[in-house]
Each structure stands twice: as C-alpha cells, then as structure tokens.
C-alpha cells in the first residue's frame, strides 16, 4: 500500500478502500459474519472458532491401518508398490504388515552378519570392544552437523559466524574449530579451557581448541563435521590440519558392505595438548 501510494497508484491498488475497509471485506467473506455482526466483532476484538466435528478433522497417521480401512492420509504419488494386495491397504513392507523380522532382508540376504533380519545390538568394529584400538585411542568421537553454519556455508571465508563463541575460537589470530571434552578427560591430559589440542588417530590429526563441558560424558568427545577449511600445517594429507576437518579422522567406509550409509560416528581418537607451531 505504501509502495503503491508512492507510485501514485494507491486508490487503484486498494480499490478505493482503506486498511480497515479491507479488514471488513475479509470479515464479510468469512463464516464469522454469519454468527456475529461487524460492530460486535470490533467491540469484542476476537472470535473463537469451534473445533471441526469429528468426521471432518484431519486423519490420524496409521489409524487407517489399525482400523483396517483404506489409506486416508494424503499421498503425493501413490504407486502400486506402496501397498500389499488390495489398493490402499497395508504397509509398504512385503507382508503388508508391521514387521519385526524384515521379510525383504530375508529374501535379499538372510545371513548377512552385518545386518541381521531382526534389530539387535552389534558391537562396533571401532568402539569400546575393539580392545587393541581402544587402548590406543580411548575416546569416542561423535561428529554431528554443525549448529551455526549450514554444512560449510557460513563457516570460514572471513564470515562473522567465525566469531560465534560456540562455533570457532580465536587464538593468536587464528579461528580454531572446537572439540568438546568432559573435564575429567581433560584433567587426565592436562588440558584447560581454550587450549590448543591435537585430536588424532591412525587416519590423521586435527588441531582444535578445547571446550571443557559437562554436556558430553567422560569417554566421549564431540566436534562438528563440515569445517569449510582444510589448512594443513605441512604437506597436504601428511600433516595435522588446523582448519578443523574432523572427517579426516572418521572412517570413510560404509556402515555395512551391502548398503550405502556413512559410518562417521564409529570413530576412536586420542587427544593431547598441542604446542607445535604455536607462536
């Protein structure tokens, strides 16, 4: 309206109406006008709409299945494979039912030790039970998506997101990535808040700023993936990275052989103070 006014088109744009006129026109177009007058509405200022009758409410997810009816929840692209047998009935599973034992896996590879047909706990190939490795690298590293940048967008590159104190820490003129460690683990390694530390395993090493926090239990360390910066201090691929690329440390294998899924959270590391290269 303000823009239209400046362009000299206000009365054409608003059809000669004021803002309040428009509110009344909208009011008249609703069902509220049938139950109360415009004057009463202005005086009261609001109208509480009654809930819809039961038979007109949105369907509850999966109730169609529970009550053995045809599927009644919105579906963008219904395909024959979505149902078992009759159209609109049953789940997408091969039995059409909720499966504890997965029938498609039974057909595909029932004896895959990495992916049994029933959900169960399998000790990780890189975790507390891998004794030899665990002795060398006793900290489990988890690397979720970053909180303050969107993947690598917004990180590094001189962005002011770098200054967010939970994103990077400025030490001696350099913005370091953060690794979060429980105070008990930090004390064992003589690490203090905002110390530079080297997070490492056989795959490589990353230099980070330490953040002591109770938000991770002892034995676990936390750092985001998606640093936008790879900045090796020596030969690329052969020296510690101070940009913060935690995926240097995480396994690049798939979680199992016969499916595509990354295994970034099965990762053991050790942490030690870093003095090298610090001015």
């Amino acid at each position: 309206m303000e823009i239209a006014k400046r362009l000299g088109l206000a009365s054409i744009y608003s059809e000669g109406n004021t803002e309040l006129d428009w509110v009344k026109r909208t009011f008249d177009a609703t069902d509220v006008a049938k139950v109360m007058s415009w004057k009463d509405f202005l005086r009261k200022g609001y109208y509480v709409a009654e809930p819809l009758p039961e038979n007109r409410r949105d369907p509850v997810a999966y109730r169609w299945y529970y009550e053995d009816r045809h599927k009644d929840v919105p579906e963008l692209t219904p395909l024959p494979s979505e149902y078992k047998g009759q159209w609109g009935k049953g789940f997408q599973t091969q039995s059409g039912k909720f499966e504890f034992e997965c029938s498609s896996l039974k057909r595909y590879d029932p004896n895959d030790p990495e992916r049994p047909v029933i959900c169960k706990y399998i000790p990780s190939w890189e975790g507390r039970n891998t004794t030899e490795l665990y002795e060398k690298y006793p900290l489990q590293l988890i690397t979720p998506h970053p909180r303050y940048s969107h993947h690598t967008i917004g990180d590094g590159k001189g962005s002011f997101i770098n200054d967010v104190s939970n994103h990077r820490v400025l030490i001696d003129g350099y913005y370091y990535w953060i690794v979060r460690i429980n105070p008990l683990d930090a004390a064992k390694r003589s690490i203090k808040e905002s110390d530079l530390v080297e997070v490492f395993n056989d795959r490589g090493s990353v230099i980070c700023a330490a953040r002591l926090t109770e938000r991770v239990p002892a034995g676990t360390v936390h750092s985001y993936e998606s640093s936008a910066k790879y900045d090796p201090i020596g030969a690329p691929g052969k020296s510690p990275d101070r940009g913060g690329c935690m995926n240097i440390l995480t396994p690049s294998r798939m979680i199992i052989k016969k499916a595509h899924g990354m295994a970034a959270n099965s990762c053991l590391v050790e942490i030690r103070s870093w003095e090298g290269g610090r001015k």
Partner: protein, 278 residues
C-alpha cells in the same frame, strides 16, 4: 514520557545467535548517519550471548545470557563524555559518531564493558537499540525481530507501567550493585546468577536398580526446612535458585518402605550429587 526497554527471558533463549547475526547484518558495512558508523565485521559484538553451564553430567543445564548496552538511566559513559554520548528522552543512549571521534578512553567508561573500539573509523561503538529503525516507526530492533523464540522483546512504556511489569514478571537487572539503572531487564536471571543441588534416587528390587519415583526430598539449612520436592519418574530432583558458596545444606529422603536417609551437601557451585541408593 514513554521509554524503550528490552526484556530478555533466559528460560527461552537457546543460544542460536540469530540476534548477533541480525545485528551484524544491520550494521556491518552500513552507515546510519547521526546514529552509527559501520560495525566491524570481526572483533566487535554489540550483542553477545554468553553461555553458562551448571551442574555435572548428566544433571546439567545450559543458559545463554545475551549481553548488550544496558541503556542506563545513570549512564557513566554519558557523564564522562562531554556530550559525545547522550541519552534521548525515549531512554536510548547513543554515541554521537562525529563528536566521539578518536575518544578511545570512552571504551572504559562502561561498567558492563559493552562499548568497543572501532579502529577502522576511530570511534567507540555499542548497541543503538536500532534507533534509526525505531525513529522510522519500527516496533522492535533487528535482534528482537530475529529472535525465533521470543526470548528478546521490546517494551515502549511509561515508567509506571514498566514498573508493574517488573513486579508481575519478576524482572531483574544484571549487576544491580553498579546502580546505573539499566533499561535492559532479564527474566529468570537465576539461571545465570544462582545455582542448584540436583541428584537421582534409586532403590533395589529383585537385584535390579530402579528409579525411585515419588521420593520426598527435603532441603534443610541450619536445621530448618527450606523446601520440599518429589522425585520425577527418573528419580531425579533439583533444588534451584540457591546462592553460590552458601555453605552446608542437609537433604532428607523419605520413600515408602525405606528408612529415612540423610545426606549433607556443601554448596559451592551447582552440583549433581549423583545417585542416592536407598
């Protein structure tokens, strides 16, 4: 005369830093003549959520306290500035970007440490409450507009009305001992200034440790009962709002079928006393 106030609710702030990003977006590379020169991309934070953790794993909480210019009634920066910093009738404290040129000593005049030095333009700077926008009819500053949880809000009110709000919502100022009468108020400030005693209660049944839900826990100081709580379904309890370093407390545990248990706690900072086995 109506005045601008900012209210921060610490129970709502999740530390998303949207306020900080909105502030940078409004002021970095942007000159608002008479109000402010551009803010630096780095080294300056006109609004800065500071984070604080309380307790020990797993009974902890995290609070963010956005710090910014307090727009004080008795602002020491105004007093010391010979007119380079002034307070408007609507309560907003502004640094005159021309008169304050080269006045780096003004940085130290803020007891809250919220004035920073812009070495590019040689001028002290701070939050302006987005006065250039409010003067154009905006109802809130950029940081307030960007807050997704409504943790920040602005109130344009007569002093009496705002005093009622202070009473109703139990608003507090940060560091009242400085006595500068800030116009930035905090709700639920205990999350930042006070501490808690928390713990979990468990009992054994058929050799298995179970959460003691519904256990009555009393907190006593100098043999007098202060407050009583009942554990939740995880057997957890939490007494909040206690003063730091307030010394010895006694906890009493009452659970059906078990004899009364006592536990003494010395309170420094927030503490998770761990699992109490009945």
């Amino acid at each position: 005369m109506k005045k601008w106030h900012l209210v921060v609710d610490l129970e709502k702030c999740i530390g998303c830093y949207n306020c900080y990003v909105a502030c940078k977006d409004e002021y970095v590379d942007n000159d608002w003549p008479k109000y402010s020169l551009p803010q630096k991309r780095h080294d300056q934070k006109w609004i800065d959520p500071e984070h604080k953790e309380r307790g020990q794993h797993p009974l902890i909480d995290v609070t963010y306290l956005p710090r910014l210019c307090m727009h004080c009634e008795n602002a020491p920066c105004v007093k010391n500035s010979n007119g380079a910093i002034y307070k408007r009738e609507d309560g907003i404290v502004l640094i005159d970007p021309i008169k304050a040129q080269g006045r780096s000593e003004l940085v130290k005049s803020c007891p809250y440490g919220m004035i920073s030095w812009n070495d590019e333009y040689k001028v002290p700077q701070k939050c302006t409450f987005c006065a250039h926008l409010l003067d154009e009819g905006w109802k809130k500053a950029r940081c307030v507009q960007a807050c997704p949880l409504g943790a920040l809000r602005m109130e344009y009110m007569e002093e009496n009305d705002f005093n009622n709000l202070i009473r109703e919502e139990k608003l507090e100022v940060l560091h009242p001992e400085i006595q500068t009468k800030p116009q930035v108020y905090y709700k639920n400030l205990y999350r930042y200034t006070k501490c808690f005693i928390a713990g979990s209660v468990a009992y054994k049944k058929e050799g298995i440790e179970r959460c003691a839900e519904g256990c009555r826990v009393c907190l006593l100081k100098d043999k007098e009962k202060i407050i009583e709580k009942v554990t939740d379904n995880y057997g957890d309890f939490k007494f909040d709002g206690l003063s730091e370093n307030s010394g010895k407390y006694m906890l009493e545990f009452y659970f059906n079928g078990y004899s009364k248990l006592l536990k003494e706690v010395k309170l420094g900072k927030s503490i998770n006393i761990g699992v109490i086995n009945l």
